[in-house]
Amino acid sequence: MESSKVIHAIYTDDDELMAAVKKVKAAKHHIEEVYTPFPVHGLDKAMGLAPTRIAIAAFLYGCVGITVAVVMMNFIMIDDWPQNIGGKPSFSYLENMPSFVPIMFEMTVFFAAHLMVITFYLRSRMWPFKKAENPDPRTTDDHFLMEIPVHGNAKDLKTLLSDTGAVEINIVDKEEEH
């Protein structure tokens, strides 16, 4: 276990936080993480995070879903046990396709939605019984916390952060997991 020092700057307003993030980035400091009680619009761009690729994953999961639906309905209703329902042609998937459209749609949505959530959890390293990473419970209520690693420049950082309107600035030891 490696131990390193980080600065926790706490803000009480999301606009102030946004301005502070922009200032810190402009001063070429790396922001490790920002903890907020609610999603702050534009924060990811201000922090310079790479854009999310969850939409691409969702599209692929949707493709998987519609394929599963087609294969499944083809097996159930055409290959394995054709049934005469309302006199519809039951020996051809294509001719009977309109009646399978709702299932194809639902399976697309089902696969895209569920796999997207699971992907998001895995990618964010969240699983049951995991210890919370949140360093300060107040960020689940009404405070915003910016975490910046310290590399021997604690003083500069402190003055910079207090200029940005941080209500509290703490230097803490962070226990790294890896």
Partner: protein, 452 residues
């Protein structure tokens, strides 16, 4: 502030002029006699085996559908081949006569629908007090300027064409048709005309006052929002009026061309079509004005939102189209399913082409979030969506009036040119009347700074 350029004026007047000439030419050419039709059919029949099949499918059309004498044909059609041939020739003659009327009507309705869809979108922005959209209000107001002349044109063509489009307006047909007789308390020409006038008066009154208050709000004191509040109230009231009258309008002006057939979600279906067309035209005109440097206050996020609406309402349209299709296809009740039998047999290309253009293309092109901010992507998707919804109206009217004698030729294209010229002229005239930024709107600052 936009000024109507001479080039645009000349262009749109030329479009109208060419359209009018082309349409009158095809109109005067459509007056062919029964003898000519018989010669034409004989020629077509002698063109070999391929056409024999087509004649068979004719019989289906005649039975289920078509103009004036279809129900007599149904009964007599097995008795005597000669009678049937003669009936068939007369039937084809009517279809050929009907085509210029129908072409004009489809084009008139298509442009009216754009204006009405944009007006409904505008009313929703006011009623929901949307903060993102006020920078686009002048474009929406300009598009809805076309509504009054456009809707009057639709109603006038409907009444002038009479039985050429609406067979229930032909007393001979009604006399032999019990189903239409039972509906005649609703489907009769004078009540049809009165309803049309009520619809147009209501929509235009809202449009007139809303535009008036919108301009008045610009010139009012900064702390005086009374015009905005008035606009909010009349918009909410209009939306209630609109959703009822739009639905009835769709029964009257579209669904009654097939007086035996009915669909309970038809009003919603037509609404989705007009809504997406209206939003698309708002986006296209905004992109045009922005490219001219006249709407610098419109940013990527506004375009993104418009494109999202185009994407979403295209899917909504497909949902309604499919809901209607699935139930009728599945139940397979003869008097209902004939609607889709005709379209799939005789209108294969426009029917399935419309699905590709209205659903698959915008769905794939506009799915990616980043593409919704790229103007040429929106323009490309928008043009395809507009052609697709023209085809949608085409598919709703033509099978009932011209049957399998359809084509997209001179009458259709010249009618499109005529009304697109009128539409461009009036919309851009309305755009040039007032500044493009509604600066007095209380949400204008929020709208200008809108981004995400």
């Amino acid at each position: 502030m936009y000024t109507l350029s001479n080039r645009l004026k000349i262009f749109s007047v030329a479009l109208m002029f060419l359209g009018a000439i082309g349409w009158f030419y095809s109109y005067s050419n459509s007056h062919i006699s029964l003898e000519e039709v018989k010669t034409m059919l004989a020629e077509e029949a002698s063109h070999g085996g391929g056409h024999g099949e087509e004649l068979d499918s004719h019989a289906v059309v005649t039975e289920s559908h078509g103009t004036s004498d279809n129900h007599n044909t149904e009964m007599s059609h097995n008795d005597d081949v000669d009678v049937h041939d003669s009936d068939h020739a007369e039937h084809v003659m009517h279809q050929i006569h009907n085509r210029p009327y129908s072409a004009l009507y489809v084009a008139a309705f298509f442009f009216m629908m754009i204006a009405l869809g944009a007006l409904a979108f505008y009313a929703i922005q006011y009623a929901s007090q949307a903060g993102w959209s006020p920078v686009l209000f002048r474009v929406m107001e300009a598009i809805s300027y076309y509504l009054l002349p456009g809707a009057i044109a639709v109603l006038a063509i409907a009444l002038w064409a009479g039985p050429h489009i609406f067979i229930w307006m032909d007393p001979d047909v009604v006399a032999h048709d019990e189903l239409i007789q039972n509906k005649s308390s609703w489907l009769n020409t004078s009540w049809f005309a009165i309803r049309g006038i009520i619809f147009i008066a209501g929509w235009s009154a809202y449009r007139f006052f809303s535009r008036k208050f919108s301009i008045a709000q610009d010139n009012a004191d900064i702390n005086d929002n009374s015009n905005f509040k008035k606009n909010f109230r009349i918009s909410a009231a209009f939306l209630v009026f609109y959703i009822y009258t739009e639905s009835m309008m769709s029964w009257d002006w579209i669904m009654s061309v097939d007086p035996h057939w009915f669909s309970t979600l038809f009003g919603w279906y037509v609404f989705a079509s007009m809504f997406v067309s209206g939003i698309t035209v708002i986006a296209l005109i905004t992109i045009y004005l922005k490219s001219k440097g006249l709407m610098e206050f419109v940013n990527d996020s506004h375009m993104h939102d418009l494109a999202k609406f185009m994407f979403a309402i295209s899917i909504f349209w497909t949902y309604l189209w499919f809901s209607q299709f699935l139930l009728i296809w599945y139940a397979n009740i003869p008097e209902e399913v004939t609607y889709f039998v005709t379209r799939i047999e005789d209108y294969k290309l426009p029917f399935f082409g419309m699905l590709v253009m209205n659903f698959i293309f915008p769905f794939l092109v506009l799915m990616n979030s980043d593409y919704k901010r790229i103007p040429w992507f929106i323009v490309m998707a928008g043009i395809v969506i507009l052609i697709g919804h023209y085809l949608d109206v085409f598919n709703m009217i033509m099978p009932a009036t011209v049957g399998d004698r359809w084509s997209v030729g001179l009458p259709e294209l010249s009618a499109l040119a005529l009304f697109s010229g009128l539409f461009l002229l009036l919309v851009f005239y309305a755009l040039s009347k007032h500044p493009l930024l509604p600066k007095g709107n209380p949400f204008i600052k929020e709208s200008e700074h809108f981004h995400y």
